[in-house]
């Protein structure tokens, strides 16, 4: 099965997020309170290495497994969409102490109530879909 590799990458990602406590509500709280370096270290070091990787992709030094160049899709532009959308996401991230990746990790931990957060997130995505043409970008 050609998708098996994504199952394994997902398992690795889930273990990393668990073991580094990134899925803990408290780690998100202390990040927004500037009381610990932990989350800044995690995201900062991932981005620092990511910058180097992206340059190696762009220059064609690293190619994908089939030997094709790796192209990173540009993000949708628009100040309102990214700032307002980002701020709304930030409110939820801080309240639930979890972003989408950790929501799934916490389901694996057996946290029943996180399913309500997931249900809310699906509803939120649904509402966005209904309104997407009317919202300013």
């Amino acid at each position: 099965m050609k998708n098996l590799k994504f199952l394994i990458i997902g398992i690795v990602f889930g273990i990393i997020l668990s073991k580094s406590e990134v899925v803990s509500w408290y780690r998100i709280y202390e990040m927004f309170k500037f009381q610990s370096f932990h989350m800044y270290g995690v995201i900062g070091s991932a981005v620092a290495i990511g910058v180097i990787l992206m340059q190696l992709f762009k220059k064609g030094i690293i190619k994908d497994f089939q030997g094709n160049p790796i192209i990173v899709k540009p993000k949708k532009k628009g100040f309102i969409r990214t700032f307002v959308g980002g701020s709304i996401f930030g409110l939820g991230w801080a309240l639930a102490g979890a972003c989408p990746g950790p929501i799934f990790v916490l389901i694996g931990h057996g946290a029943i109530t996180i399913l309500i957060v997931l249900l809310g997130a699906m509803l939120g995505a649904f509402i966005y879909g209904l309104l997407s043409k009317k919202l300013p970008s």
């Binding site: 398992i11 990393i16 073991k19 408290y26 990040m31 620092a48 994908d64 532009k77 990790v105 509402i127």
Partner: protein, 185 residues
């Protein structure tokens, strides 16, 4: 084995996440989680309500499999790789949370005040979980990505929209924690 059972420091987790980013692109896909929320909507029949959801979810099977892996990763770590659920917090954080009404901060991954199943019996308890989810789902789709898509992938590839989105993530998060928490809790 000692290392496996201990919490991992940031300088292990960050590079490890960068390795996950590398693997996703190496295998020809993007690194992101939140698009799956839309895929779930499509699979639940949201296409009946809006053309936005009339997409071929089968083309995103790889990402759904990735999410199943994330859940399994959580299960494996909680069952086999964790000796303690306690989070080693800054004493100031513990004290501050106690004043907000969170007892025993850091004794578990999640505070019982928000995540205990008893909260499902109260309107406020359910509302907090549901509203948090709504903000996450709506915000991430409007912004076009979450922490993995914008903060990690977008910032790594030096994209301006991602920088604006991450500033937004912090604007929202700071507003919630500094100003709304004292009103909610």
């Amino acid at each position: 084995m000692e290392f496996i059972s201990q919490p991992w420091p940031w300088y292990v987790a960050g590079p490890a996440i960068a390795f996950v980013l590398f693997l996703m692109f190496y295998f020809g896909r993007a690194f992101g989680v939140s698009t799956n929320l839309e895929t779930f909507c499509t699979m639940s029949g949201a296409g009946k309500f809006s053309d936005y959801f009339k997409t071929d979810w089968k083309a995103r099977k790889w990402s759904l499999v990735f999410v199943v892996g994330i859940i399994l990763g959580g299960l494996i770590s909680s069952q086999y790789l964790m000796t303690s659920d306690a989070i080693d917090l800054n004493p100031d954080t513990v004290k501050e949370l106690a004043e907000l009404g969170f007892a025993n901060a850091g004794s578990d991954y999640l505070p019982a005040e928000i995540f205990s199943t008893d909260n499902l019996l109260s309107l406020k308890g359910i509302a907090i979980l549901l509203v948090a989810g709504l903000c996450i789902g709506f915000g991430t789709r409007y912004a076009g990505g979450c922490t993995s898509g914008h903060a990690i992938t977008g910032l790594s590839s030096l994209q301006l929209p991602s920088l604006v989105a991450v500033i937004g993530f912090f604007a929202g998060g700071l507003l919630m924690v500094w100003f709304l928490f004292p009103l909610i809790f």
